[in-house]
């Protein structure tokens, strides 16, 4: 496989984290325009951990997820009262404030090789070379991205089959009804915000190490909105939905070059028309339930296969 396609694959994987982050909030009924902030926080946190703290990448990524999750949880708690549009604008305001704060943030130290390193305000953060110093190539990197992505998908799939997923969907569908049925909507929303922040931060940590260089302008409004659009196109029925959305944009619109120079004309139009006919995406709850029922019928002949597995394969 050549470098062009490896680059595309890596990009798709990294954007998938952002799409899944938006997805977790969307099924809870919140449309965030600000998940790019946690992607950025994760990128800086993981980068600083390996460059300044000299910890292994695994620890750095875990740290990024924790920092991103805490920041997003705090923000979720502060915006708990807000619904719909007011929530979207609050998340955008917070994300832009984070981006500008990163522009103002400098922490320069002398590295072991005697060079200055660390975040340098608007100039960005260079030299996040953990993987390259250890001789890993692009193929290893793509495998790492998809490995972590697989773990996130597994975690989401498991939690959706448990009480948490159901609670979140109820809170998103009709918060008043959910509350009357004894669902703690506030707790569900804060937990969803924290989980979404942790997922985005994981993606950001991987992005920083893939790129070796990040700057605050990487984490602008357009990045978060793309993540949101991917989740909305792909579908809110199952965690693989957002990945479908990433595939549609990157493979059909960007990589195929049919729409070269008209990318946003095409993508914007696709999204707007899509939202009329399938407001909850291609893989919406109805389709997922239908697939699950179909898999259940097929499963009667092979009873050892759990019904949910067909969902992941579809």
């Amino acid at each position: 496989m050549d470098d062009y396609w490896l680059g595309i694959l890596a990009n798709m994987g990294l954007l998938s984290f952002l799409a899944l982050s938006s997805y977790v909030l969307l099924i809870g009924g919140a449309m965030s325009f600000g998940q790019q902030a946690f992607f950025g926080i994760g990128a800086y946190a993981a980068g600083m951990a390996t460059v300044l703290g000299a910890v292994p990448l695994g620890v750095a990524l875990a740290l990024a997820a924790v920092v991103g999750g805490l920041a997003a949880g705090a923000l979720g708690a502060a915006t708990l009262r807000l619904r719909g549009f007011h929530f979207s604008v609050a998340s955008l305001a917070a994300a832009e404030a984070v981006r500008i704060s990163l522009e103002l943030f400098s922490l320069r130290v002398v590295s072991s090789e005697g060079r200055m390193t660390g975040p340098n305000g608007i100039e960005g953060f260079r030299g996040i070379r953990y993987l390259y110093e250890r001789g890993y190539g692009p193929v290893d990197f793509v495998l790492l991205i998809y490995g972590v992505l697989g773990l996130v998908l597994l975690a989401l799939w498991l939690s959706e089959r448990r009480r948490f997923g159901l609670t979140l969907r109820m809170a998103g569908e009709d918060p008043v009804l959910a509350r009357t049925l004894g669902v703690d909507v506030r707790k569900a929303r804060i937990a969803a915000a924290a989980a979404a922040g942790a997922i985005a931060a994981l993606g950001g940590g991987l992005f920083a190490h893939y790129n070796t260089y990040v700057e605050p302008s990487n984490f602008g409004m357009m990045l978060g909105v793309h993540g949101l659009a991917y989740a909305l196109i792909g579908g809110l029925g199952a965690p693989v939905g957002p990945l479908l959305g990433v595939g549609i944009d990157i493979l059909l619109v960007e990589a195929s070059r049919i729409f070269h120079g008209y990318r946003m004309v095409a993508f914007g139009g696709i999204v707007a028309v899509f939202l009329i006919f399938r407001p909850r995406g291609i893989l919406d709850e109805r389709l997922v339930n239908r697939l699950r029922a179909w898999a259940g019928r097929a499963g009667r002949h092979t009873p050892d296969q759990p019904a949910g597995e067909a969902k992941g394969a579809s």
């Binding site: 549009f85 604008v89 305001a93 832009e96 404030a97 909105v225 004309v265 999204v271 009329i276």
Partner: protein, 295 residues
């Protein structure tokens, strides 16, 4: 501090003009049109495109900006707002964002380049100073106030206004009373587009140029100002615009552009988190709290 007040109010009047469009659409339709800035930008680019080929003065430009903006406004309404049900307000907002991207790219394909000169509607007079205000800024402030007065008269002194107010009160009851709800909704949209066209024409005229950043700038500043004032409140939009202008000018003079933007976003976040009905809570507690609940 006092020296920055005229400059802040002048900047704020541009914001107020933009905020009125957002607040009008939200007040009546309970929707937010994120493609608003891009619609106006395409109108301005369209007028420049025509001027490049035929020439023409500021008045002709205004006419073209108006026509293009209203046509695009109708396109946005048909694509993003008419097809979505009342419950899907957030979905239509996402759709309008997608169309924003589309319109912005069409505009930059029409006329590439970083900054395009735009003729000032006020000619030589715009440079004159009156008590610390540039004359053009006074005109912008006057426009913002007269537009609001005009809308007040339209809402409270005409049959159309009565229908609009009935629709704000309850769409169902308005429909039962024989009001053509989709038509009034579409008309409000057209009205907001026309208002945006005039606002854009004044703003880029004062600046003397328009850049591809106009869509983003107009949408963000308009929304921030509208929310600071309390989304859905016309006097709130003007007050919010002026407040944002003063805050930004003071922050910029004291700390530079980055801190200016940081301040406006933090102010926006604080207002949303602590008092979602914004400045309008100061004069109408009941109406504003309803606005925050319904979204």
């Amino acid at each position: 501090m006092l020296m920055t007040l005229p400059a802040g109010l002048a900047l704020g009047s541009s914001y107020a003009l933009l905020a009125v469009g957002f607040t009008l659409v939200f007040g009546v339709l309970r929707r937010v049109n994120l493609a608003y800035g891009a619609t106006v930008m395409l109108g301005i680019y369209g007028a420049l495109w025509v001027q490049e080929r035929t020439g023409g003065g500021p008045v002709l430009m205004l006419l073209i900006v108006l026509i293009v903006t209203v046509v695009i406004g109708i396109y946005v309404e048909k694509l993003c707002f008419a097809p979505h049900s009342r419950r899907a307000a957030v979905t239509s907002m996402a759709a309008s964002f997608a169309v924003w991207m589309q319109l912005e790219e069409v505009a930059t394909l029409l006329l590439p380049g970083h900054a395009l000169p735009f003729p000032s509607p006020f000619g030589q007079a715009s440079g004159l100073d009156v008590a610390g205000f540039r004359l053009a800024h006074l005109l912008a402030l006057g426009c913002a106030l007269s537009v609001c007065a005009g809308f007040w008269a339209l809402l409270y002194r005409t049959g159309f206004g009565l229908a609009v107010r009935a629709l704000i009160e309850s769409r169902q009851a308005a429909a039962c009373a024989g009001i053509d709800v989709p038509r009034i909704s579409a008309l409000i949209f057209v009205l907001a587009s026309a208002l945006g066209a005039v606002a854009g024409w004044i703003i880029v005229g004062i600046d003397g140029q328009v850049t591809p950043m106009f869509a983003m700038w107009a949408t963000l500043k308009g929304i921030i100002a509208a929310i600071l004032g309390g989304l859905g409140s016309l006097p709130g939009a003007v007050a919010g615009g002026l407040l944002l202008g003063v805050v930004e000018t003071v922050a910029q003079r004291s700390f530079g552009p980055q801190v200016r933007d940081l301040c406006s976003y933090l102010l926006l976040f604080a207002v949303l988190a602590l008092c979602p009905s914004g400045l309008s809570a100061l004069w109408s507690a009941a109406g504003a709290s309803r606005a925050a609940e319904e979204t």
